[in-house]
């Protein structure tokens, strides 16, 4: 609070030339309702009289919010309704209802219990998810805010009790509880700083002066301002953030959608065979049953009655539908649910996705998208908070044509290491080492391997980086400038100026830590903060700001003492994204008037005077270097003014400033422009935008896995481009296609012209890409929000998408949350591929909900993104693991599991059908009821679940080493119709083999040495034994990864069958019926039972075994070969090969670290070649 008082004295409106239109005239108090009856929406609010709003006419909704889907009362009906919207569930429900009638071939319990289980489980999941939302709501609703009670007394009240008309006091760093109208703030001119990151994702603070049109929106945050008073005008669901929020849609994975088609196919098959058997039944019953006296056709129930053949046929159809229901197993849904929940818990427990700093594990919030993670094609990422930490480090500078700063940026480090290792390799080479050019013809693998090594070293070098003295925002290291050494430099004057510009030209406020006496700064942007910290470290500590002065404490003055220099701020021409520069005009203690200016290099270079270009060439070179190394650059310049010159200009400026009207801004700009000319270049700064840990590496790996990455950011274009460079989405030498609009064009031209202009740009760019011959040429598309508005319109969006898809990287800047969602939808629907959106703020919610998979960054403030997401991870870098390992595994697991599931149920279900043909289509099953119930529930469920939960084609570290394996998912190699139909065919084959082999082997002759023949129980049990053995051996062949769990489940299932048979047979005949002592007495002593089981089982798996043997041998897939390498331990014996292969195992990509390093090497080699050919005179025409 003490600090606040100092600052409150400054009339900050003076600082902002462009921001504050009306400085001090507005009086405090609520708006006059009468004035608001303009066009559009109006709302009458009685300020400080919330009681009025309790009456009907002025009653507005309460401030409590609810984002839940259900409440206690509606849960049961609504959730049940949701459940039975699934077609499959309706079918099962019908089957369960019918099972209560006499025409059912099964007992009702066996139909109802599994359905209740499935529906119950899904509903429990819904309830759990909804309760989480409820708890989140409760937390938000119970946040406290100070509300005016009476006579200036404020009492804390929970958010939900805040009413329209209440006057609230919001403190620094608090969120606004509702949409407020600003009444006053701790600053005497009534401005406040607001961070709207939760709303639009922009991290720069916004200034809100006191003004009737300034509404402070709910969920934005008060910053740099001690407190504000505001009157509540929109509460709860009326507030903008709630109005903009959309219900989270329920998402289904591609595999699940495709599974529906399989279900439909099988359903058709089911209906078909039901009809076949009904027709068979009708024919048999009509023409033969009357003669079957042993059935007493004269006294028969309606469902068999030949005289009422239609009725009998219809009821048989229903019986058949239930009987063959094994083709569409309800247990499939149960198993998939279970498997997905277990997969999700593995994701949650992955220790390598656990963020130690915040203590947040990964969180798979919706488990039904696990396998979708393995099929992602495009990643749409937010920038701030996701890719970057939004923290800048001052790393380098160029002063008077000399570059300072020895510490390297991440990009630089990587490139250097790469070059070093490349050289080393050349030295190790043969006699040809004298001709490094010839290396060009050596397979690229060397380059790539080196690239891999280099990436690893970057990761390890992170450790060194952490040893830096921890000064936030300052990563600079160069003894020439530190500790006053610059005083010895010959360009001491220029350096001094450079530092002064850094410490004076800004809009920040210092805060002195009273204990240490060190200043910290509250700056509008993190860049500015970094400059001030740098200036402080160089010995120019900006320590005080008053209304019109800036005081800088200079440590290394000529006298060698610490002196405080005061600068009078005469004018401040602030930064806008259009101007791309800011200037201050100051009068120093000697009375000189100086203009200090910093801005984007291109802008500054255009404004240099003839004699100000002394260092232009060197600085440009440095700037290019910095840019190449992924740093954000600004150029610094100054200009000395004489008194008369200034006064003249200032008059103009004041005139413009006080003018009223729409052209005020344009006038101000024009006048400012007049002043910011004839500058003298001093140097440039290079700031590293700190990426989040591991982001470049992660992007590199994702790119190698064949994923496309789009960045959608609310930030301005330059920032976005810089980040693009930092995380290697952009690089020097990439052709940038910027699609933008003149802001004038938008206002002046007609819509068609504007659109034509954009379309033209898009078509030209597309043409350019098509004409490009160089295979290494990479394009980057950069588009801003305003242009995007037009580009996303229906008539243009496909051209835009076409262009975007051709580009290696796409960056959309200045996009609104809505546009983020629209872009996501365009990609999703336009390309038909799977999209993943990742973001951390409320502004990403739309995009997260729209994408096939939404990933939220957890562990940061504001939970909106996480609440809307399907997966929450603590760091962007965990995305690699989430996709490349878990996604890949889950995709394969689920795909194999579903295929196998259909196989086993077809194999089983069809035998029931075949038997019908031999039983007069009467609806009799050859199996005991219990066998049929246990088939899906006990005897084959655990192996298939273990396949879905534990299967690993390759270990996790191999997934990471061979990113190319990921492409098996997006290419859908494991769930295409070829494979699905193959499995179904396998099921058909197995059913035929099992049924007919067993039937014929046990036909009519004795099967025991004692002469007994096989009855229905013996045949049925033998057949069932064969099925159990066959399907379990089949799954064993499908698996490639056996831990003790799989062994236990697979072989245990077969064992369980025999155990069950034994126990069931021992039960009194009252329970076991025809299966009484079937194993002990009837089957086990018969050698033919055992040999037939082995024979049938082998015959069943034979084609599959042959198929996988031949496929692996003659047409191996990537994971086969890696499995073999691992199997033969070649990775240990021949590590060189292993690393070489893992670096090759990636998709052609033009983005990412490795691609960048490669491009640089190509470039350098090209140069080297030129040099050599010039020196030696040897031309090497083969080398290009």
């Amino acid at each position: 609070m003490t600090k606040g008082r100092i600052r409150a004295r400054i009339r900050r409106s003076h600082l902002y030339t462009f921001g504050c239109i009306r400085p001090s005239t507005t009086e405090e108090g609520g708006p006059n309702p009468l004035q608001l009856h303009g066009p559009g929406y109006s709302r009458t609010v009685y300020c400080n009289q919330p009681l009025i709003h309790e009456k009907k006419s002025l009653f507005y909704c309460k401030n409590n919010i609810s984002t839940t889907k259900y409440n206690v009362l509606t849960f049961l009906p609504k959730a049940l309704f949701e459940q039975f919207r699934r077609v499959a569930n309706i079918y099962f429900l019908l089957a369960a209802c019918l099972s209560a009638s006499p025409i059912s071939p099964f007992s009702p319990l066996s139909m109802i219990a599994p359905l209740a289980f499935v529906v119950g489980l899904s509903m429990a999941k819904e309830a759990l998810e909804d309760s989480r939302r409820f708890l989140q709501d409760v937390k938000v609703n119970n946040r406290k805010v100070s509300v005016h009670k009476s006579n200036g007394e404020f009492v804390p009240k929970s958010w939900q009790r805040v009413m329209v008309g209440d006057v609230v006091r919001v403190e620094k760093d608090q969120f606004f509880p509702a949409d407020l109208l600003l009444l006053s703030s701790s600053y005497e001119d009534g401005i406040c700083y607001v961070e709207t990151m939760n709303l639009d994702g922009e991290t720069n603070l916004k200034v809100y002066p006191l003004d009737p049109s300034q509404i402070l929106l709910r969920d934005s945050k008060l910053r740099n301002t001690d407190y504000v008073y505001g009157v509540v005008i929109f509460t709860g669901h009326d507030s903008k953030v709630m109005q903009n929020s959309t219900k989270s849609p329920s998402k289904r994975s591609t595999i699940e959608k495709k599974m529906d088609h399989i279900i439909y196919t099988l359903f058709t098959v089911l209906i078909l065979i039901s009809f076949i058997s009904s027709i068979g039944f009708v024919v048999k019953t009509r023409f033969q049953v009357p003669k079957w006296w042993y059935l007493r056709p004269d006294n028969i129930e309606y469902q068999y009655d030949p005289k009422k053949i239609m009725l009998a046929g219809m009821s048989h159809l229903i019986t058949a539908l239930i009987l063959y229901g094994y083709l569409i197993p309800i247990s499939l849904y149960v198993s998939i649910e279970i498997v997905k929940v277990l997969q999700a818990s593995f994701i949650n427990q992955d220790i390598q996705m656990y963020d130690e700093e915040t203590g947040t594990p990964a969180d798979a919030r919706t488990s039904n998208l696990n396998e979708e993670l393995g099929q992602v094609d495009t990643i749409l990422s937010d920038k701030t908070g996701t890719l970057t930490c939004n923290q800048m480090d001052f790393l380098k500078c160029s002063i008077a044509g000399t570059s300072y700063g020895v510490r390297s940026s991440e990009v630089e480090l990587a490139a250097a290491k790469q070059m070093a290792s490349d050289m080393e390799e050349q030295d190790m080479g043969s006699d040809l080492s004298n001709f490094p050019l010839i290396k060009g013809s050596v397979p690229q693998e060397n380059v790539r391997r080196a690239g891999e090594i280099e990436l690893e070293t970057v990761i390890t070098s992170k450790g060194d980086a952490d040893k830096r003295p921890a000064i936030k925002g300052f990563g600079f290291e160069d003894s020439r400038l530190m500790n006053g050494n610059w005083l010895k430099d010959r360009n001491v004057d220029v350096i001094l100026l450079f530092f002064r510009i850094l410490s004076v030209c800004h809009t920040a406020i210092p805060e002195v830590n009273e204990e240490t006496g060190v200043c910290t700064y509250e700056a509008e942007s993190p860049d500015e903060g970094a400059f001030l910290v740098a200036a402080r470290e160089f010995g120019f500590e900006f320590c005080r700001r008053t209304q019109s002065t800036v005081v800088v404490r200079e440590k290394f003055s000529a006298s060698g003492e610490v002196v405080e220099r005061e600068y009078r701020i005469l004018n401040l021409l602030d930064f806008t994204s259009k101007r791309k520069r800011m200037s201050v005009i100051v009068r120093d203690e000697e009375g000189n008037i100086i203009l200090f200016c910093k801005g984007a290099d291109s802008i500054i270079f255009d404004r240099l005077s003839e004699n100000g270009k002394m260092y232009l060439e060197a600085t440009t070179r440095h700037l290019n270097e910095y840019g190449e190394n992924g740093l954000r650059t600004l150029a610094l310049a100054y200009k000395r003014l004489n008194e008369q010159e200034y006064t003249e200009w200032n008059n103009e400026f004041q005139k413009a400033r006080t003018s009223v009207g729409t052209d005020r801004e344009a006038m101000l700009e024009e006048v400012s422009d007049l002043m910011e000319r004839e500058l003298i270049l001093v140097g440039a700064t290079a700031v590293e935008d700190k990426l989040q840990k591991g982001v470049p590496q992660c992007i590199d790996k994702l790119a190698q896995a064949g994923l496309k990455i789009w960045v959608l950011t609310g930030d301005k274009m330059e920032t976005a481009i810089n980040i693009g460079f930092a995380c290697s989405l952009l690089r020097q030498g990439m052709k940038q296609i910027c699609i933008t609009l003149d802001s004038n064009a938008v206002t002046n031209d007609r819509l068609e012209v504007v659109k034509g202009n954009i379309l033209n740009q898009i078509t030209n760019a597309s043409q350019m890409i098509k004409m490009e011959k160089d295979p290494h040429a990479a394009f980057a598309l950069i588009i801003d929000g305003k242009t995007l508005t037009y580009a996303l319109e229906d008539d243009m969006k496909h051209q835009f998408l076409g262009l975007a898809v051709d580009c290696a990287s796409v960056i959309c800047c200045r996009v609104s949350p809505k546009q983020k969602a629209l872009v996501t939808r365009l990609v999703k629907e336009g390309t038909g591929k799977t999209t993943l959106a990742i973001g951390d703020g409320a502004n990403d919610v739309g995009m997260i909900q729209e994408a096939d998979i939404g990933v939220g960054i957890s562990g940061v403030e504001g939970m909106q993104a996480v609440m809307a997401s399907d997966f929450a991870i603590a760091q962007f870098r965990f995305l690699e693991r989430l996709l490349v390992i878990h996604g890949h595994w889950c995709y394969k697991r689920i795909a194999q599991m579903i295929c196998y599931f259909f196989y086993k149920n077809i194999a089983f279900g069809l035998t029931i059908f075949y038997f019908e043909a031999f039983a007069g289509f009467s609806g009799q099953s050859v199996y005991d009821d219990w066998y049929m119930i246990l088939f899906n529930v006990v005897l084959t469920s655990l192996p298939v679940i273990s396949l879905g939960v534990f299967e690993q084609d390759v270990p996790s570290e191999v997934c990471l080493q061979f990113p190319a394996l990921y492409q098996q998912g997006p290419r859908n190699l494991f769930f295409d119709w070829y494979r699905i139909l193959g499995w179904m065919g396998n099921g058909l084959y197995s059913s035929l083999i099992i049924f007919f082999l067993v039937i014929i082997i046990f036909y009519d002759q004795a099967f025991r040495i004692n002469g007994q023949t096989a009855d229905m129980a013996a045949v049925g049990t033998t057949m069932f034994t064969c099925i159990i053995c066959a399907v379990n051996c089949q799954i064993a062949l499908t698996m490639s990864h056996f831990t003790w769990i799989q062994h236990l489940f697979v072989w245990g299932s077969i064992g369980t069958w025999y155990l069950f048979l034994l126990i069931y047979g021992v039960l009194p005949p009252k329970y076991s019926k025809t299966a009484y002592q079937i194993l002990i007495e009837v089957l086990a002593p018969a050698p033919i039972y055992w040999t037939a089981t082995v024979l049938v089982t082998i015959a069943c798996v034979l084609p599959y075994l042959a198929h996988i043997s031949f496929q692996r041998c003659f047409n191996p897939m990537d994971h086969h070969i890696i499995q073999e390498i691992k199997y033969y331990k070649k990775d240990i014996e021949d590590q060189h090969m292993w690393t070489r292969e893992s670096s090759k195992a990636r998709q052609e990509t033009k983005i990412g670290f490795t691609a960048r390093v490669e491009a640089k090497i190509r470039h350098l080699k090209g140069r080297l070649q030129k040099k050599q050919s010039a020196l030696v005179g040897v031309s090497s025409p083969t080398y290009t």
């Binding site: 040495i1009 002469g1011 009855d1015 045949v1019 042959a1106 043997s1109 041998c1113 191996p1116 070969i1121 073999e1124």
Partner: protein, 348 residues
């Protein structure tokens, strides 16, 4: 099939990477990190060839042995349902079988093709008889069979539930339609005794058919289906019924009738005196008498041997084809040049 040693080293790396957490080893941790030691079998060419060869080597001898066993079984099958109808009734067999006044006696002469060693099993075989029809299968009451009359519900026995006010014992279609042809055998002048005991499963006799349940009101109704039962013999001793009540799986089935416990020599002629009572004429079913010896495999069963031989041969064939293809076009396993990325770069 070896345990992957690499996985444990990975766990080690994981521990180093993220220090400061306790309990980073142990099975539970490995389980949670999906890093349990696992065996990862790979179908190497050697494995493939050996597996198929082994299967061939198992099934071909098995097939040969079973074929041989099957051939050693002597089986005499005699269809008698047509021949046993007197010539004058051939055109109206139904009349013949339903008319009680017509004698159902019939003699058959069976020539023994090879010598048959005791025990020789006697079966009757019915074709086109749907014992597996759902209505038929359900039409019985197990409780009644074991406990006799009680307050058991016998509704499953419909339409043969009651005789008067009392439930029929044994009720239901199966019992009602009990097979009632009888066979007497003689060879030369001597009668061949047929042992009709122990033809049913012991568990059935002991636990499914009551020792004190008597068929006191069986076949008393207006419509008589099949055989009558001796009301003074408990159900547990009515082995014909017990065998009949084990419904067959297929519409063509054999049921054990008894055992001849004497050897028969080749070219012996067996005279069968049979009572052709059972009506299969109305639905065109066949009736056959079967005499068969048995082996460890059961009765004569060539199919099993053939199937086994076929599968064995097929395995051999695959093994050889695989071997040839592999020799002709070998792929070094674990050679990374066959990966998609290498293929792509070599083709481009």
């Amino acid at each position: 099939m070896d345990l992957d040693s690499g996985s444990s080293s990975t766990v080690g790396a994981g521990v180093q990477a993220i220090p400061g957490h306790p309990a980073r080893r142990g099975a539970l941790y490995q389980f949670k990190q999906q890093n349990l030691p696992a065996c990862k079998p790979v179908l190497t060419p050697a494995t493939v060839i050996a597996t198929f060869l082994l299967m061939g080597l198992i099934f071909i001898p098995l097939g040969l042995v079973t074929l041989r066993t099957s051939n050693s079984v002597v089986e005499i099958v005699d269809r008698y349902d047509i021949e046993c109808v007197p010539e004058e009734y051939r055109s109206n067999k139904l009349l013949y079988i339903t008319d009680d006044s017509i004698s159902k006696n019939c003699s058959r002469f069976l020539k023994v093709p090879k010598s048959m060693r005791a025990p020789i099993y006697v079966y009757y075989q019915l074709d086109n008889y749907y014992q597996n029809h759902r209505r038929y299968v359900k039409s019985r009451n197990d409780k009644q069979l074991l406990h006799g009359l009680g307050d058991n519900s016998t509704s499953t026995c419909k339409p043969l539930e009651f005789s008067g006010d009392l439930p029929i014992v044994p009720c239901g279609l199966i019992a009602w339609s009990l097979f009632n042809d009888t066979f007497k055998f003689s060879s030369g002048s001597s009668e061949l005794k047929v042992n009709r005991k122990n033809i049913a499963w012991k568990s059935d006799r002991d636990h499914k058919f009551g020792k004190d349940v008597y068929p006191f009101n069986f076949q008393n109704g207006p419509l008589i289906g099949g055989a009558k039962l001796d009301p003074n013999t408990p159900l547990s001793d009515q082995e014909d019924l017990i065998v009949w009540m084990r419904t067959a799986a297929l519409p063509s089935f054999r049921k054990l009738y008894g055992r001849i416990e004497e050897d028969l020599d080749a070219d012996d002629v067996i005279v069968v005196q049979l009572m052709n009572n059972y009506n299969t004429y109305s639905f065109g079913g066949k009736k056959k008498l079967v005499l068969s010896t048995s082996s460890w495999l059961g009765g004569k069963n060539d199919f099993f041997g053939v199937a086994s031989l076929f599968i064995g041969a097929f395995c051999m064939l695959i093994s050889i084809v695989f071997l040839l293809l592999h020799v002709k076009n070998p792929r070094p396993y674990g050679d990374a040049t066959y990966t998609s990325w290498n293929k792509k770069s070599s083709s481009s």
